[in-house]
């Protein structure tokens, strides 16, 4: 179920166990807060009634035993078990033990859920895996392992459209009026991360200005713009060597995972190539073209793709793709320093005539 469905369902009563699946912190925080509120409405009960455990430190069977042991001080309890993925068996023998009729962790949970303790709610939280790529299979494995938990909340990262919609709603709730450019900039610079968007909107609210334009967003969220890999991708997409080197310096000092920038840049170059081949000449055309292909895109992203398509010729884009591949390989092979490899890449990519 979606976080919204979960919140609506809470009002109708509590289940003995819930499984939160996915990486999104914004909805995770909201759903967890709603569950705490529903289970332990009196804040005074929470000191004793709310138990936090980590399944990388204790077994699921121990958590089930804890749920079965009644508490002296709390009539109602919520046990929040983080790192739910750590309960999964490792190795074939362990997996067999956790199979049907087994005596492993899953069986212990299943046995508990056949006769759960009244007043006790178990929250199993798996935030490690993404819903896309290789992680998707891992998430499905987690879901299968916890199949005895019927209430599953999927916490997916917001799509571009959802991020825009939710950001607008958050701004409205905060009493702010963001113009379209400001909203685009906020969502783009924070990579559509709703948790960070919520924090920035709170900052803007505290700043006390009711009407917010793009200038204010840029001034209030400078770190986000300067330190995300998106900022590096945009600078490289604009062939802005000086700015790219400056952002690279910040990213390297903060220990950012640099191959991520290459991955995003490769996407941007491919899109720019498609835009050139399709003869797209405006951001609107690019947005429409990619939307038809099933790739939703907000305005500022389309403008970035247009910028890249205009600044790089077809051959330069193809050469850029080769450079990205080489740099990616260099980052993965024994090398002196990621930063040196990336700096060489920036110099090669932003040269007036490509070399290397």
């Amino acid at each position: 179920m979606t976080p919204q469905q979960f919140q609506a369902k809470l009002a109708r009563g509590l289940a003995p166990a819930y499984l939160f699946l996915g990486p999104d912190t914004f909805w995770r925080d909201r759903c967890r807060a709603a569950l705490i509120e529903a289970t332990l409405p009196d804040p005074a009960e929470r000191a004793e009634g709310l138990t936090r455990v980590d399944l990388s430190e204790m077994s699921l069977a121990e958590v089930a035993d804890d749920a079965r042991s009644l508490s002296l001080f709390a009539a109602r309890r919520l046990i929040v078990a983080a790192s739910a993925e750590a309960a999964l068996p490792r190795g074939r023998a362990a997996a067999e033990e956790d199979g049907p009729g087994g005596k492993g962790n899953a069986a212990a949970l299943e046995a508990y859920l056949r006769d759960p303790t009244p007043g006790v709610v178990l929250l199993l939280d798996c935030s490690r895996f993404e819903w896309e790529g290789d992680d998707k299979k891992k998430l499905e494995r987690v879901r299968t392992f916890f199949s005895s938990v019927t209430e599953v909340v999927e916490l997916r990262r917001a799509t571009a459209t959802e991020a825009q919609t939710e950001a607008a709603a958050l701004a409205r709730a905060a009493g702010l009026k963001l113009d379209r450019d400001a909203l685009d900039l906020l969502v783009e610079s924070l990579a559509g991360d709703l948790a960070r968007i919520a924090i920035e909107i709170e900052k803007l609210r505290l700043f006390g200005k009711h009407e917010v334009d793009a200038g204010l967003v840029a001034a209030m969220t400078p770190d986000a713009r300067e330190t995300t890999v998106f900022a590096l991708v945009n600078a490289l997409g604009r062939k802005d060597r000086r700015h790219a080197l400056r952002i690279l310096d910040t990213l390297a000092r903060e220990g950012e995972y640099l191959p991520l920038a290459l991955s995003f840049l490769a996407t941007q170059f491919r899109m720019a190539l498609i835009a050139r081949e399709a003869g797209l000449r405006s951001a609107g055309q690019i947005q429409g073209h990619f939307s038809k292909l099933g790739i939703p895109m907000w305005g500022s992203r389309a403008e970035a793709v247009l910028d890249t398509a205009q600044r790089f010729g077809r051959q330069q884009l193809e050469r850029g793709m080769e450079l990205i591949f080489q740099t990616d390989r260099n980052l993965r092979s024994p090398r002196p320093d990621d930063r040196t490899v990336m700096e060489e890449f920036v110099f090669s990519l932003t040269a007036q005539r490509p070399h290397g």
């Binding site: 069977a61 035993d65 042991s69 009644l70 508490s71 002296l72 001080f73």
Partner: protein
């Protein structure tokens, strides 16, 4: 610094510091014991920054001064020396030269300046017999929570009032409460402090060594002080709100069963061998004249025992963690114990029964759903 000390005195006092010094530490000086020689005695100090201990023993001080050496290594070595006088001299490079009979050893030490300073003891807040304090600790220490996240439960509540002393510990599923009406000599207001578990274990050791002596208790903003003669234990205070224990002490457990402590302990110990290893869950069935203790597990088998009792109430079938029951049954004094129950979902209360007890001792255990 140079002094001569009797081997048995040194071994005894060094032994006290072993529970305090850090064995695996990233701060090497915390593995060392600070030795200060002055006024015809040596002072030994050890700390892990949470707990500190200072003790003294008589010595012939040739030259006053101080130095530090690894506490465990020194004790291990001194134990092996013959029973004779030991002379220790600290050299310029902080090494200690140890001479005993025909043995001569140089042990690498560290500068005294890098050893942490322990806070001075403030004026006493209370004074109670050491034996009383150790009895209270023995009756409660096992119920302290081992979960680090529940830090206010990582120690016991000590309440010293003019006419009584109370110690309470709990891990959220069980609670041990002991109260004694013996007079507490006081120097100020009622004392209410949380004593960390590690400090309690050391206090127990010191109190048992002290025998009939007194324990002087004091506290400053961050520390608790327990003085037993020439020995001083300093512990960081646990801060936070201890749960309202009074609220969970049962008031309407009217079904009582008196049993022989040894019989029920032996029965639970035997039956628990077949309980689930993790949950240690067993069932107790109270019927008129008899308590059945039993468990069954598909992995290990099943076991059942019966213990006679004077119980005359309705049948109650209740699950408990066997370890919780045994923790109490192993320390409770007297030949008889009393189970006070309400029903299978409410907390059960265990108390000593039969003989005169100078302590008001109550042990509350929540049942397990089996």
């Amino acid at each position: 610094m140079e002094f001569t000390v009797n081997k048995s005195d040194l071994v005894r006092e060094l032994g006290l510091s072993q529970g305090v010094v850090e064995k695996k530490t990233t701060i090497p000086i915390l593995s060392n014991v600070l030795i200060e020689a002055r006024d015809g005695q040596i002072l030994l100090t050890a700390t892990d920054l949470e707990l500190g201990i200072r003790s003294a023993c008589p010595a012939k001080v040739k030259k006053e001064g101080s130095g530090t050496v690894p506490a465990k290594k020194l004790l291990d070595y001194v134990r092996l020396l013959p029973d004779a006088e030991i002379t220790i001299k600290f050299l310029e490079n902080h090494w200690a030269q140890i001479t005993c009979g025909r043995s001569r050893t140089k042990m690498a030490g560290m500068s005294r300046e890098s050893f942490p300073e322990l806070p001075p003891m403030p004026p006493a807040s209370a004074e109670i017999p050491a034996g009383l304090l150790s009895s209270m600790i023995v009756r409660t220490i096992f119920a302290i929570s081992a979960e680090e996240s529940r830090f206010t439960l990582n120690g016991a509540l000590l309440l010293l009032k003019p006419a009584s002393s109370i110690m309470v510990s709990t891990d959220g599923h069980r609670l041990a409460f002991v109260e004694t009406m013996k007079d507490v000599e006081k120097a100020g207001e009622n004392l209410r402090v949380l004593v960390p578990k590690k400090a309690m274990a050391e206090i127990l050791r010191l109190a048992q060594e002290t025998g009939d002596g007194k324990a002087i208790i004091a506290g400053d903003e961050n520390h608790l002080f327990f003085e037993f003669g020439s020995r001083l234990l300093i512990s960081r205070k646990l801060t936070g709100n201890f749960p309202d224990y009074d609220r969970v002490l049962p008031k309407d457990n009217t079904q009582t069963a008196q049993l022989s402590r040894d019989e029920i302990k032996a029965a639970v110990e035997r039956v628990a061998q077949f309980a689930d290893e993790r949950s240690r869950a067993i069932r107790l069935q109270f019927t008129p004249g008899e308590v059945k203790v039993f468990t069954s597990s598909v992995e290990t088998g099943e076991s059942e025992e019966s213990v006679p009792t004077n119980y005359a109430g309705p049948e109650i079938d209740i699950g408990f963690n066997a370890q919780y029951l045994l923790d109490f049954l192993r320390v409770v004094p007297g030949e008889e114990v009393c189970f006070r129950l309400k029903d299978q979902r409410s907390a059960g209360e265990l108390t000593p029964a039969g003989g005169p007890e100078s302590f008001h001792y109550r042990y509350i255990v929540m049942p397990m759903r089996i």
